[in-house]
Structure formats: structure tokens, C-alpha cells
Amino acid sequence: MAIWAAQLSVDRWRLSKGLKRGEGVDAAPLALISETAHGPRLEAVNDAGRQAGLHSAMMLADARTLCPDLNVEPADPAGDLEALEKLTLWAQRWGPWSALDPSDGVIVDVTGTAHLFGGEDRLLNDVEQRFSARDIAVRTAIAPTAGAAWALAHYGANAAILSPAHDMAAQMASLPVAALRLDADVLTVLRRLGLKRLGDLTAVEQGRTRDRANIAPNGRDALQRRFRRKFTNGMKGRKSPAFNPLVRMDQLLGRVPEPLLPIVPHHMPLVQRRLAEPLRHRDLLDQVLHDLTHDMVRMLEGRGEGARRLDLGLWRVDGEVIIRSLEMAEANRDPAHIIRLFTGKLEDIDAGFGIESVRLRASWSEPLILEQNDIETASSKESEALGTSLAACIDRISVKLGQGSVTQPVPQASHLPERAHRWEPYGVQSMVTQTTYQEVLKPYKRPLKILDYQEKIHSLDESDGLLKRFQWRGRVHDVMRAEGPERIAPEWWRMRSTARLRDYYRIEDAEGRRYWIYREGELGDGRGGSPDWFIHGVFG
């Protein structure tokens, strides 16, 4: 079943004003506009406006010439989409699942549910009544496929019912090709080809044309060629079915499946407190946080979940909203831990004239099984003595020091030393799944510590291509022992062609300090002058 709320944005606007249809401001022509690069454009027009000859996608300047007393209001596409999502969820009263059909339609799967409403007629009746009770104008249709239902709802008779017993192609032959949910450019091409109705398209497909003179035996192939890549090259989303009328036709007739993405409600655990007196002091806020956290923990417990991310919203009297979010390394349901982490985040809150409402929401939660408390660790004092868990420790550090401060090194397949590892934000999950499936490169004797940026060293004495004495950070080092070179070539597939190779040496100076140095480039490699020396790492 397809439901098309043809006037959704205008209806929403009218409902927000609390008006009935055609009453008050709605009696005069009105348009919802949006700003575009070419000036304001009409997004939706009310009934009076349509009678005055206006239509959507018109420029406001043009509309004003037609109808000088036009009222305009800004359009709200995001709000429309949100309202449509709610409608889609609500529409699940007629079928087990429903899908969004942006920007103003809903598709409901009513297979096997019509008898619950006393047949398909009565089902459609019920839909109309419910929607008219909400004062939203809709057109509906039921058909064996989603595509056909959509086509009938938009271009067919209102409340049309097409059953599988009918010959679908014949029934729908009189609908315009726009009923195929095609892109506007494709529609233009079809119009220029003279294919205006679905019947024309099926005729060409089957090789029947109106004039007997040019019979194309395989019109489908010709159409296929016409709408292949060449035409759609450079168009966004050119592989989607909206660019191929044949695919759309097949979907409409049920020859190929058309998967729809059903909408699934996901309720975030949310607790809130509206306060009789605005809060201005920290200790009261702590008390509210304590209560909210315990409520949240109870809610999560009931769902068998633990929170990964928590958002705390503080609504101030003057309308400001302060939001503090918290992300945890592991699903957690321990109130003491959560309160402790939030306490550190609430230090710089400016209460202004007071906080009147506090809301805590778990925007990311994961399953966490219920566990019996350990008797020994029941009291918080003893559990403190036992030590914190890894996840709790990481949470505390990353909340205090910032999200990216706790990292772990992960090996990476590269032979360039600085690219052979990367620092990833720490996560318990990633640690568990870190067992590699592939053999890691095991480079030869790498330094214990590596400098973030290679530092240039000044060569004081160089012979046979090897440094004998150099200066680094103002100190002179004599090279006593050296091993090398280990030649590491640049990664030509991602570096510039002028990148030079590196000859790495492990060296030890007179006092026993061991370094990892390299010479960048060779004399006469044609990529620069005499090569420089750099220090890259320090051995233990």
C-alpha cells in the first residue's frame, strides 16, 4: 500500500498555526519557499495558491507576477522528513513494516493484513479516515508491488486497488511515464522520444509500434542501449534504477524484486527531571545527576543493556542548552562510575539564571548481561582496594585528558618505519579482535623509541658514505660502531616522484648511545643535492 501525503509541508504549516483547511491565512494564496542559488523558489503551495495558477518549483519572482498578493513562509524540509518518519512509524498500524518514501510518501506492506480491517476497501477507508482526522490530505492505493502502488497513488484514481488477478500492464497503460519514479532528465528524454504513457513504453518493449512501417522486433534492446551508461554518464547516482525506465518498469510489474528499507523504531533510554525551582548550585545539580543516573541504570538494567555513550542535557531558564557527552570504553551500568565521570565534566557549567530541566539520554547502548554482584566487592570501599577494571581506568583517563589521548599502536603493512604503525584510539573491543589474520611484517632490529619528526643531524666527518662524527642537539657524537645500510625505498605509489630513498644505519657512539640514523638519498640520484642525514629513533 502506498500513501501519498501530497500536501505534507503545507498541511504541517497549517497545523502548526492551528488552522482548519481553507480558513484564516490559509484562505489566501500562500507558498513555502526555500532560498536557492537563483533566488527564492516555491517548495509547496496551498489550495488557494494552486487555484491562482502557482505550482511548486516555481521561482518566487515568477509567482509574484501571477499572484501579487502571495504570502510566503520559509519551508522546513528537515521538519517534514521528521514528521514523515513519525507518520511512517504510525502507519505500522496497518501492516507489519513500513518504509519511508521521501519526501512525502509512505509505503506499507499490507500483505495478509487486509482481512483484519475487513478487506482492502475498508482498509483504505480506514487510512483515509485516520489521516483526515489528523487533517492531512492523502491519496492511497493498494497494488501487488510497491512500484505499482506508488504509481497508482500518485497518478491513478484515488483509493485504487489493483489485485494480482488483473493484467497489471494493461490496467496501468494509461498512466504517464512519470509514474515510474524516474529522474527528471530521464523523463525529458522519454518525452522527446514520444514515450508519454506506460503503454507506449510496453509497446516499444514488445516491438509493437503505432505505425506499422518501422517495426522494431527487439525494442527492449534498443531502449536498453539508449539508457545505458552513455546517456547517464556524469549524472549523480547513474546506476540507480531511477535512471533506467526498463528497470523501473520491471519493478512495477514485479519481474525484478525491489527491496525496501523498512523503518525500525529504536528507543533510546531517556530519563529527565523537570525541576520546580531552577538550579543554581553545583551540589543540587550533583543530587539531580545522582538521581538521574540511578534512574538510567534501572532502565538499562531492565533492557539488559549497558551504555556506551551518554548525553546529559541541561536546559537553562533563558533557553540555552548545555550538553555534555560521555563515551565509555565498554558497555557500563555502574552508577558510581558514571557519576564520577560526569562530575569531572560539570566543572565549567555556567548555570546563568538557573537550570530548569535536566535530561540524560543513552544514545549508544550495547547488550550487557545481568550479573550478580560479587559479595566480596559489594561495598565500594573494598572494590576500590581491589583496583579498577581496565575499561573504567581508560574511561577516567580519557574523560580527564580528552578523547584522543589514550591510544594503542597497531601495526600496518608498510616498510616505511613511520608508516609501519599507527596510533588508534583505544577500545576494548578492538583489543579483543586484534588477533591478526595475516602475518605481520617483522622488520629487522627497530629502535625502542621513534621520534615523531625525524631530526636533521649535522655531519662533521663522513667517509665511504658513512658518518664518522656528527652533531645532534648541540652535542658531538663519534660513531664507533655501525651496522648498515638498510635501504628503504620510498613508496612510489603514494609519494612524490622526487622522494629519495633512505639508507638506515644502526650506530653506537663513544659513550654507548645507540641511534637509528639515515641518509636521505644518494649522490647523483638526480633528486636533489648532496644527501642530508637524519636521526629517526633511539635504541635502548
Binding site: 589521548s405 591510544t407 629502535p447 623509541k449 621513534i450 660502531r481 648511545r513 645507540r514
Partner: protein, 297 residues
């Protein structure tokens, strides 16, 4: 500060050493043998850290331009973990993570740990914390020490920041002690100021041992390690080598002192110990602790 710390440890050592001479107090050979044995057994050596009295808080002073500090801290930590895992109660296979906290300037001067250069059994278990300043680093260290899921915690702080005063270090020691965890704090380019660390080391690189295969190549990593203050050990100097994760010692620099003139007990504390002669830079160690705060212990 430095002098005071040194003096404390040196006097404990010199008591042990000077109890030895038989001509001294009264009872002759028995005492001397006992004292010598006690001295020997209290001397630090690898594999000594027992679970019940392992030093929970260690400091390693090193130059930021060499890797000796980090390497020595790592070697000591691995040594301690190894000893622990030999105990009956401990897991044979300790797969706990390790925490490595660095301040921003320590990273800038000394670099970050490199996954391919770490000992293979540790490279997958490293968790690194990059802290802005010493205060944040101390917070992270304390949280790390409090956590039961870390095999050991390594901290790297450069210089003598104001945040890392005696109170802060005492706090770390107490936390580590009560949670039974190990902390190795590497102090890069720092003066040895007042601290409550149980063992304090000076680390510097030493010329490496000959490589087995390539005479020109740097061989087995070696460090000069100087234990200049410890609660349960006399100070000393060692050259330590890292043989694939096992610490080995070569030529202990300070031998057990031979019989010296016998002082009486009252003068022991105030006298300058024999160490003064053996190592030139121990010149300041002979001073007494009389009248000093016990906090320095």
C-alpha cells in the same frame, strides 16, 4: 635534596659494611660473616624483587637523548614480572596490558615507544597515553596504578615540573603500595629531587658487548645502572646487559669493602663511609641524617 637522599642510602650501606671488621665492636668472626652475608644478600641483583616486598615505585633518571632510561625501566619491569610469574599463585601467562604515559615534552625530546622495537610479547599489549603536562600525566599514572589490569605502568616526565613534588610522589607510592602494582617513572633530564620512590636509579648507555656475528655492529645493549637510593638495598653500580629479555650483570664496579679501621657504633653514623674513596662522585654521601625529616626516607 640529592645529597640528602644519597646520604641516607649511603649510611645504611656503610653500616652494613662497617659492621664487618672483626677488630671492631666485640664479637669477632661471627658478626663479620653474618654482616657480609647480609650485605651480599641485600645487594640488588636481577630477579630479586619478591612479590611481598617488591618495590612498587621506581624512578629512573636518564638523559632524554638516549634510550637508556626507557630501556632500563622496561628491563626492570620485565624482570619483576618474570619473578612474579614464577610464584605459585601468579598466572604463568600474564597477558595484562601495560600503560605507558608520556608528557608532551617527553614525547618531543625522547620520542614515542615504537611497536616494532618493543619486546615482542609487549608490543600488542601497550596502551599509550599522551598527556599535555605533568599534572595530567600524574593523574593518568595514578589511575593506571590503581587499575588491576596492568602488568606495570611506565611514566615519562621531563625535567622537574612543579606538579611532581614530594606530595605527588608520595601519593603515587602509597597508591601503588596499596594496590600492589608496579610503577616505573622515567625522569628525563631531571635533577634527583625529593621523592618517595622506593628505588631510584641513574641510567646511562654503556658501550655494548660485542656482537656475535658482526664485529662492527652494535651488540647486546648495555647500560650503566646506578642504584643511588633504595630502601631495602645498598646503593651500587652495575653494568647491565639485556640478553633477549634477561638482565645479566658484568663487573660490578663497587666491590664489598675490605676490612677498614674499626669505628665505634656512635661514630658510624657520622663518619664518612668507605664509598667515598671508591667512587669519586660519592663525595657528598657521607653526611648524616641526624635531625632530618624522616619524610626523606
Amino acid at each position: 635534596m640529592e645529597q640528602m637522599n644519597r646520604s641516607v642510602s649511603s649510611t645504611t650501606a656503610s653500616i652494613a659494611a662497617q659492621l664487618r671488621p672483626s677488630a671492631g665492636v666485640n664479637s669477632g668472626g661471627m658478626t663479620s660473616a653474618f654482616a657480609s652475608k647480609a650485605y651480599q644478600s641485600s645487594r640488588w641483583r636481577p630477579g630479586l624483587s619478591q612479590a611481598d616486598q617488591h618495590p612498587c615505585h621506581n624512578e629512573v633518571f636518564a638523559n632524554s637523548e638516549e634510550g637508556a632510561g626507557a630501556a632500563l625501566a622496561l628491563a626492570l619491569a620485565r624482570d619483576a614480572v618474570k619473578v612474579d610469574s614464577k610464584g605459585a599463585l601468579a598466572d604463568a601467562d600474564d597477558q595484562r596490558c601495560i600503560l605507558w604515559v608520556q608528557t608532551a615534552d617527553a614525547i618531543k625530546r625522547g620520542g614515542r615507544p615504537y611497536i616494532h622495537g618493543l619486546p615482542p610479547e609487549l608490543s600488542r599489549r601497550l596502551i599509550h597515553v599522551a598527556a599535555e603536562n605533568a599534572q595530567d600525566a600524574l593523574f593518568a599514572l595514578e589511575e593506571g596504578v590503581r587499575c588491576r589490569d596492568f602488568a606495570f605502568v611506565i611514566g615519562e616526565v621531563r625535567g622537574n615540573p612543579r606538579a611532581l613534588d614530594f606530595t605527588a610522589s608520595r601519593r603515587l607510592t602509597l597508591t601503588a603500595q596499596s594496590h600492589g602494582s608496579r610503577l616505573y617513572l622515567i625522569r628525563l633530564d631531571a635533577r634527583p629531587d625529593l621523592s618517595s620512590a622506593r628505588m631510584r636509579w641513574n641510567a646511562a648507555s654503556a658501550p655494548s658487548q660485542r656482537s656475535r656475528w658482526n664485529a662492527d655492529a652494535p651488540g647486546v645493549p648495555s647500560w650503566k645502572a646506578e642504584l643511588f637510593r633504595a630502601r631495602s638495598h645498598p646503593p651500587g653500580n652495575w653494568i647491565l646487559h639485556d640478553h633477549k629479555g634477561n638482565i645479566s650483570i658484568s663487573r660490578p664496579k663497587i666491590p664489598i669493602p675490605e676490612a677498614a679501621n674499626a669505628p665505634d657504633i656512635s661514630s658510624i653514623i657520622l663518619s664518612t663511609g668507605p664509598y667515598q674513596n671508591t667512587a669519586a662522585h660519592y663525595g657528598d654521601m657521607g653526611r648524616a641524617t641526624v635531625g632530618r625529616s624522616l619524610a626523606a626516607l
